[in-house]
């Protein structure tokens, strides 16, 4: 994560945070997309 921070010229936005989260998660691309969808659904309840 420190490495990721150093490569950022500025604070990451929400889209970048979700991309970083996907990169950290196990599973296929489709599983990661589904999890992000579920997260947005649950977080916006």
């Amino acid at each position: 994560m420190e490495e990721q921070k150093n490569t950022m010229e500025q604070e990451p936005d929400m889209e970048q945070l979700f991309e970083m989260l996907k990169a950290q998660m196990p599973g296929s691309d489709m599983e990661k997309e589904i999890l992000v969808h579920v997260m947005l659904y649950i977080l916006s309840m």
């Binding site: 994560m1 604070e11 889209e15 979700f18 999890l35 969808h37 579920v38 649950i42 309840m45």
Partner: protein, 379 residues
């Protein structure tokens, strides 16, 4: 009979009722939610951290102590600890230390509705979430750590829920009838706007609301893929009782029909919680294929509802929650006998008309007597 055999026999009876067939007995279902926590002598706050086994044991106690053929929901259904990783939860535990309530607030201002319509997922991610959750406004990497903690706790919560049907099958002998929760686009949009502003929108910006509802559909659309006829997809619906028929047809129905059709086309059945009163609109459910809808009746007259829509729709409900709380055993038996004699042993499943949330919601002695009476009633 083993728990597994009991489970399978009960599931078969429930499916017959949902298929509008005659049943050897009228199934009785549990709509106990956090009431079950209080009945087990626990408190919700403690149970949130107790782990799946202890949580399931608490929720199962009433299913062991009283006769039930099925349970609609089982276990905590809000990931409160996951939300808390982000510094705030839209759900909170009430003063009774048992029931869980939701905040009503607006997270979609009037002047941003068009931006939401253009890309609802980007709007939710980029605007709504940082406004809601303080830990997402923290500098990197704290915001990233909070998001990661949320994801981890959410996956644990989803994993816990996934164990519930197997737990009930192996340890309780009572089937779970709701496979997943699905939300109508209308209820979600009203939630985003806040109840008061959302309802004003129906008059003030009719076309914009219709666009926003279409935009909301992908956010709440049921998960794709094949389904089985049992257990069912569950729509708890709070909004319809506040809509007249014209607004129901215009705003609620199109996206709801789309969702329900998707589930039915995939081989599933839909359980609709008709919260409040639906007599002014429930004939619309006759548009769905025969036997594809199970309607949970809250305030509408149960016997009349069966006469009106029971030719195509199976029904859950018919037990007077207030009478179960305050009446005598004899008064409750008289009331349930009227329902059984008025409806017969097909199409219906009996259940409290309201979800049981707080410690005193029903008198356990009444529940025990009524459920055993239903189980043993012969037609």
């Amino acid at each position: 009979m083993t728990y597994q055999e009991m489970h399978d026999e009960k599931a078969e009876v429930i499916q017959k009722a949902a298929n509008l067939e005659a049943t050897p007995r009228v199934p009785v279902l549990s709509m106990a939610q956090t009431w079950a926590v209080a009945y087990a002598g626990e408190e919700t706050e403690e149970l949130l951290d107790a782990g799946p086994e202890k949580e399931f044991e608490a929720y199962a106690k009433h299913l062991h102590d009283f006769y039930f053929d099925g349970v609609i929901l089982f276990g905590m259904n809000r990931p409160i600890r996951a939300y808390e990783a982000l510094g705030w939860s839209p759900f909170f535990i009430s003063g009774d230390k048992i029931s869980i309530q939701a905040y009503d607030y607006s997270s979609l201002p009037e002047d941003e509705i068009q931006e939401y319509i253009a890309d609802p997922f980007a709007f939710i991610r980029d605007k709504m979430l940082p406004r809601r959750f303080p830990n997402l406004r923290k500098p990197f990497p704290q915001n990233m750590e909070a998001l990661g903690a949320f994801a981890e706790k959410l996956m644990a919560f989803v994993g816990k829920n996934g164990q519930a049907p197997g737990y009930l099958h192996d340890n309780v002998g009572v089937p779970l009838v709701a496979a997943d929760l699905v939300e109508p686009a209308f209820d979600r949009y009203i939630g985003y706007r806040g109840w008061k502003d959302g309802m004003i929108d129906l008059r003030a910006r009719e076309d914009e609301v219709l666009e926003a509802l279409e935009a909301t559909y992908p956010v709440v659309a049921p998960a794709p893929g094949p389904r089985t006829p049992f257990p069912w997809a569950f729509f708890p619906i709070t909004s319809v009782t506040y809509l007249n028929r014209k607004n129901f047809e215009k705003f609620f129905w199109p996206t709801f029909k789309h969702s329900a059709d998707a589930i039915i086309d995939a081989g599933g059945k839909v359980l609709i919680a008709m919260e409040g009163n639906w007599a002014h609109v429930y004939d619309m459910l006759l548009d769905f294929p025969k036997g594809s809808i199970v309607a949970f009746v809250e305030n509408d007259d149960f016997i009349q509802t069966k006469k009106d829509i029971g030719s195509k729709v199976s029904l859950v409900g018919g037990l007077d929650t207030l009478l179960l709380r305050n009446g005598t055993i004899d008064e409750n038996i008289d009331a349930v006998k009227k329902v059984l004699d008025g409806c017969g042993n097909e199409v219906i499943m009996l259940c409290t008309g309201k979800a049981l949330l707080s410690p005193g919601d029903v008198n356990p002695d009444n529940m025990r007597a009524v459920n055993e009476f239903i189980r043993d009633y012969t037609f």
